[in-house]
């Protein structure tokens, strides 16, 4: 299973030995690349509950492959969302379902954000993504 090109780039960037400051700056830079959501799209229905910050997630299936868009009012979360989207966008539903996203964040050196005690909502985002893709 080959990685999407943007995911390759992310993996290359984040798997280097980097300081926490560099990682934070990188995360924020990735977050800035998220395509913005419109006011209407930042609706309560699209909001992922269970996050410390506000997070919105939308997904659509085009010809059997999924495209997600996401936003957050917190910058580092935006970075995590961007790194999530580059990994999942364009995948067929079956591949998305079998994808180990915890492993993806572990490869990026960001596994801590998926630890059970984190309330930053990445868990909740993954759950919502699975719901959207399963519907």
């Amino acid at each position: 299973m080959s990685l999407p090109a943007a995911a390759e780039t992310a993996l290359h960037t984040f798997s280097q030995p980097i300081s926490w400051e560099q990682r934070a700056r990188l995360l924020m830079a990735w977050g800035e690349q998220l395509a913005p959501l419109s006011e209407d799209e930042r609706s309560e229905a699209n909001q992922v509950s269970g996050c410390e910050s506000q997070v919105w997630l939308l997904g659509e299936s085009h010809n059997g492959s999924w495209q997600f868009r996401a936003a957050s009012d917190a910058r580092l979360i935006r970075g995590l969302l961007a790194l999530l989207l580059v990994r999942v966008n364009g995948l067929p539903a079956a591949e998305l379902r079998s994808l180990d996203l915890a492993d993806w964040f572990t490869q990026l050196g960001l596994a801590r954000h998926l630890s059970p005690s984190r309330s930053n909502g990445l868990h909740a985002v993954l759950r919502r993504m699975a719901e959207i893709a399963g519907a």
Binding site: W20, E21, S53, R75, L76
Partner: protein, 401 residues
């Protein structure tokens, strides 16, 4: 001036956390434990565990007497009139739920329950849900700008329909001592039952429940340097008689046949099932440890450290402190910085502080904030912890601003 805590070495976790790169400034969530408590837990388990108030055998008798000795220690700590006024629960939250269920039958449609806008969810949800069950009116006392209950408003809102006042002693978000004397007097003038949530207050200074004059006082062990899994409900004997048992089973009964039962009076009638024996014994050891400290010195140390925390925060551009904290903690936000981002970068640097709504969602929403960072202090913290915190805060802000 650099303050060092003379009690820090009594808490082995502080050194362990530091060795792990962690600076612990989240004691309002839960505290670290003194060696004396660890010894008591080990002593109990290593010496032979047993259930309490059941068996005749020696281990059972020993466990029961150690367990009951803690009840007396707690009664002494609060200056309760009798150890029978001390009920062990699983936590402060359970103690408040016990009251909300156990007092339920005294309330009728249209009666008013009064709380304040700064209550922790533990002292909000039991009353909110009780109000929904019984058709009662939940009255929320507003705060003034400093983060204290507005007494003028309280004067208007506490009235002849008030059946119960449930109020925090020390806010877990704002660090403000609430005007308990005035509020309790207002409620008592109308014959209302009074409940004080002492979860934060109990940790700072000694409080005399008879002097306070409340009907109930609630706290949890784990914030008071004791084990988790134990809370305390103090109930003034006369009012405690009005509380019905809410959980059933175990040894809380006097006699039963298949169809009816007669229950024990307080405290055992409210302690259905096997209690957290080891944790209660551990709480006794923590209180004994605390009783051996110079309490004036502890308070002075905490106050001086709190001043350092406040002045350090105020010295930083863009930092806004919530309310006017008087003791032990400060919650803050930084202009144009999301507190989730700040929390993220403090965590990266090994600073253990709390971020989010602090189990007081309506309060944060009322302040127009999605969340805040809370730094909270305990007697084992010292200036070195704050220095590491401020260095990390500056680093984080440099990245975020």
């Amino acid at each position: 001036m650099s303050l060092s805590s003379p009690w820090r070495a009594d808490f082995p976790a502080l050194a362990a956390l530091l060795a792990d790169g962690q600076t612990y400034l989240d004691s309002a969530a839960t505290s670290q434990k003194p060696q004396a408590m660890l010894n008591a837990l080990l002593g109990y388990y290593a010496g032979g565990a047993a259930n309490v108030h059941r068996a005749q055998h020696l281990p059972g008798a020993r466990a029961t007497s150690a367990f009951e000795a803690t009840r007396q220690t707690v009664a002494d700590w609060l200056n309760a009139a009798s150890h029978d006024e001390i009920i062990f629960t699983r936590g402060a939250t359970e103690a408040l739920n016990l009251l909300a269920y156990g007092l339920e039958e005294h309330f009728h449609e249209g009666d008013e329950l009064v709380i304040s806008a700064l209550e922790h969810h533990a002292n909000l949800l039991p009353w909110q849900q009780l109000a929904q069950r019984r058709g009662l009116i939940l009255v929320v006392l507003p705060l003034d700008a400093s983060g204290h209950v507005d007494l003028d408003a309280a004067q208007r809102l506490i009235g002849p329909r008030t059946r119960l006042l449930a109020i925090s002693q020390l806010s877990n978000v704002l660090g403000t001592w609430q005007p308990l004397n005035q509020l309790l007097a207002l409620a008592q003038a109308h014959g209302a039952i009074t409940v004080v949530d002492g979860a934060q207050g109990i940790v700072h200074g000694r409080h005399d429940v008879q002097q306070l004059g409340c009907d109930f006082y609630v706290f949890s062990s784990h914030k008071l340097y004791g084990p988790d899994g134990v809370g305390v409900l103090y109930g003034r004997a006369a009012t405690l008689q009005r509380v019905l048992p809410w959980q059933f089973g175990g040894e809380m009964l006097l006699q039963t046949d298949y169809y009816t039962a007669k229950f024990r009076p307080a405290p055992l009638g409210f302690e259905a099932g096997t209690p957290a024996v080891s944790s209660v014994i551990g709480l006794g050891a923590s209180l004994a440890y605390l009783a051996g400290l110079d309490s004036d010195a502890v308070l002075a140390h905490e106050a001086a450290l709190h001043q350092q925390l406040l002045s350090g925060l105020l010295a930083r551009a863009g930092v806004r402190i919530l309310g006017t904290p008087q003791t032990a903690l400060a919650s803050f936000v930084v202009d144009d910085v999301h507190s989730a981002d700040l929390a993220h970068l403090l965590t990266e640097q090994g600073i253990a502080v709390r971020a989010g709504h602090h189990c007081a969602m309506p309060l944060l929403r009322g302040l127009g904030l999605p969340g805040a960072i809370r730094v909270s202090l305990a007697l084992y913290n010292d200036s070195s912890d704050l220095e590491r915190f401020f260095a990390a805060l500056d680093q984080a802000l440099e990245i975020l601003q």
